[in-house]
């Protein structure tokens, strides 16, 4: 019975954790999946967002989620700038992928060091009414608890992801982004500037870092280097879900969340980072196109 109780609790927190992972990975799913820009600095930008949320919260007492919403336009602008530079220096001249990767790796490193210099390597937390308490209940004799901080992250991430998915599915801009993914040339023949579409889409992808960062500092204590741990997670999610598929990302994040939660419950939390990597390697070896992917993997 105790095993069952552990299992149910792990499952609940896994689903909630999956919601948090969706928020982390959705921006990368747009940048990497739809635009083919391998932004390995994405998790580090999320950490930067988390630090902004921390400073807004500790200085002005703003609720972290509200802080995340406030930061979104700034991250959008940052994304616009980064993609403009990336396009100017690498894509336009069709430089080797190697240099683009090195560029983002450099950005990752610079962001991390700047964060260390600004705030030191201490772990940071935020204060809000819903952090630290849990909802407890019992069904048929099985007790379970739902921490409010995970629940709030799950709800916010869900709203953000479903909103983005609806936007990309329904709006003209969303269709244009998909078109850029399929055939840039055809899009420009239809009278749409593909580079502008890509700039905006990359901006949206990076814009999610504001809210994702706020959720990150709600869910875990952060320090500048914590982004590295999530690189494996976000890429495992995007690759498992299939490049270019937002619903795939959603499903994959849930799978990873549940798997990590089960592993940390039954084998200990220090083994959790190994889960994402095993999934990533397994997917690359046996089904490189992912669950719902249509893209070319070669």
């Amino acid at each position: 019975m105790i095993i069952l109780e552990l299992f149910i609790n792990a499952l609940i927190s896994g689903i909630l954790l999956g919601g948090f992972f969706v928020a982390l990975a959705i921006g990368l799913s747009i940048c990497f999946g739809l635009l083919d820009t391998v932004n390995i600095a994405h998790p580090t930008f999320v950490v930067a967002g988390a630090f902004c949320a921390f400073f807004l919260n500790s200085t002005f007492g703003i609720d972290p989620i509200l802080a995340g919403v406030i930061m979104t336009p700034f991250f959008f602008a940052l994304g616009w700038l980064i993609y403009s530079a990336y396009y100017q220096f690498f894509e336009r001249t069709s430089a080797q992928a190697l240099r683009g990767l090195a560029f983002f790796f450099g950005l990752l490193f610079i962001t991390e060091v700047v964060l260390i210099m600004v705030s030191g390597v201490d772990h940071r937390l935020v204060n809000a009414a819903y952090i630290g308490k849990s909802f407890r209940g019992a069904v048929a004799g099985i007790e379970f608890s739902v921490p409010y901080r995970l629940l709030s992250a799950f709800v916010v991430a869900g709203i953000m992801t479903l909103g983005l998915q609806a936007f990309l599915d329904r709006s003209f801009f969303g269709r244009a982004t998909r078109a850029v993914h399929q055939d840039m040339m055809a899009l420009s023949l239809m009278g749409v500037d593909p580079v502008t579409v890509k700039r905006i889409a990359f901006g949206i992808g990076l814009g999610t870092c504001g809210i994702a960062g706020a959720l990150m500092i709600i869910v875990i204590p952060i320090e500048p280097a914590v982004g590295r741990v999530f690189i494996g997670n976000v890429f495992a999610i995007v690759v498992l879900g299939g490049l270019g598929s937002i619903s795939g990302t959603l499903i994959a994040a849930m799978i990873l969340g549940i798997a990590e939660s089960l592993v940390s419950t039954f084998f200990g939390p220090s083994w959790a980072p190994a889960v994402s990597f095993s999934i990533l390697l397994g997917v690359l070896a046996f089904r490189p196109s992912g669950l719902l992917g249509v893209g070319d993997t070669r």
Binding site: Q96, F109, S278, L281
Partner: protein, 325 residues
């Protein structure tokens, strides 16, 4: 005379090695060997990275992972039964080479970015594994005492009183890493001039075209990953003896990854001299900066310089001296 000219690179190698040996014998302040070790180790790491990254165009973010495998293989061997340093290096290199083969087999058939991502995640997972492995110290780290009077083939190598070849361990390790670095550069140059290097270059330019022309792409990539990985492993295996205290945070530090990438990129990736120049230059600057400025600022400068070079000077320093074609 012509045979001498033909082997002038090899002669140069021997000359540099002799120079390193002489340096250890004339009683220079020990700190220079300590700092010099770090620089020469970077020459080796950058050269190893460049075999796959520079010639083949497959970027490896997992340098720290390969180094860590080397280091922790050495530690495990010391813990197990006080194995001496040469077998440590050989077995460390073997393990890291196997790791390269394994990762390469799973990801090199796909687009290059997947290999890069997998290697980046690899370092983190290996760190997780070592954190949970108490035999080699776990997350708390482990102290390694270098043997007091190591011997090799019956010859005493280090003795404080002057009976050995070297007066202290740091001098011995400096000489050893110099020999290994020179060997790595020789391997890189041999690969560059041989069939393997030309095949890798073809892969970098256009993989599909190379495959259509009959280049065995997967096999060449796997060979390059294995060689590159095992050289990194060898550079890592000597590390515990140098540091005398190793914990997962040091052994799997991301700094290695950015250095291994930045040094060839700044020096120039298409020829063996590029990573050597990059590593000597950046390594020395970093050693000076760590002492005089701060360690963090030094990393920031490294990141900024890398981005500038990637954007503005794709052929690195060597590119400045080459004719434009």
């Amino acid at each position: 005379m012509t045979t001498v000219l033909r082997y002038k690179f090899e002669l140069g190698c021997v000359l540099v090695l002799v120079l390193a040996f002489v340096l250890t014998q004339i009683g220079v302040n020990n700190f220079f060997f300590f700092a010099g070790f770090a620089v020469v180790q970077f020459v080796m790491i950058a050269t190893a990275w460049n075999i796959l990254g520079g010639y083949g165009g497959y970027i490896n973010f997992g340098t720290a992972g390969f180094l860590g495998v080397g280091s922790y293989t050495a530690i495990a061997l010391i813990q197990w039964s006080d194995v001496s340093i040469v077998p440590q290096i050989i077995i460390g290199a073997l393990m890291a080479g196997l790791l390269g083969l394994f990762i390469g087999y799973f990801t090199l058939r796909l687009r290059g970015v997947y290999f890069a991502i997998a290697t980046l995640a690899l370092a983190i997972v290996l760190e997780t594994f070592v954190n949970n492995w108490d035999f080699v110290g776990g997350a708390a780290g482990i102290s390694i005492l270098p043997p007091r009077n190591p011997e090799l083939l019956g010859v005493m190598i280090v003795d404080r009183k002057g009976a050995g070849i070297f007066d202290n361990n740091t001098e011995f390790l400096f000489f050893l890493i110099s020999a290994m670095a020179i060997f790595s550069v020789w391997i890189a140059r041999t690969i560059e001039r041989g069939k393997l290097g030309r095949g890798l270059n073809a892969i970098k330019d256009n993989e599909e075209a190379a495959e259509c022309m009959g280049v065995p792409t997967l096999r060449l990539k796997l060979v390059a990953t294995t060689v590159s990985g095992s050289l990194m492993g060898a550079a890592g295996a000597i590390f515990p003896n140098y540091l005398t205290f190793v914990d997962p945070l040091t052994a799997f530090n991301l700094e290695f990854a950015i250095n291994a990438l930045a040094m060839p990129m700044i020096g120039g990736t298409f020829t063996w001299i590029g990573p050597v120049i990059g590593a000597l230059l950046l390594g020395t600057v970093q050693q000076i900066a760590i002492v005089t400025i701060s360690s963090e600022l030094n990393l920031l400068i490294l990141g900024v310089v890398l981005v500038i070079f990637v954007v503005a000077a794709p052929h690195g320093i060597v590119g400045w001296f080459m004719k434009k074609n």
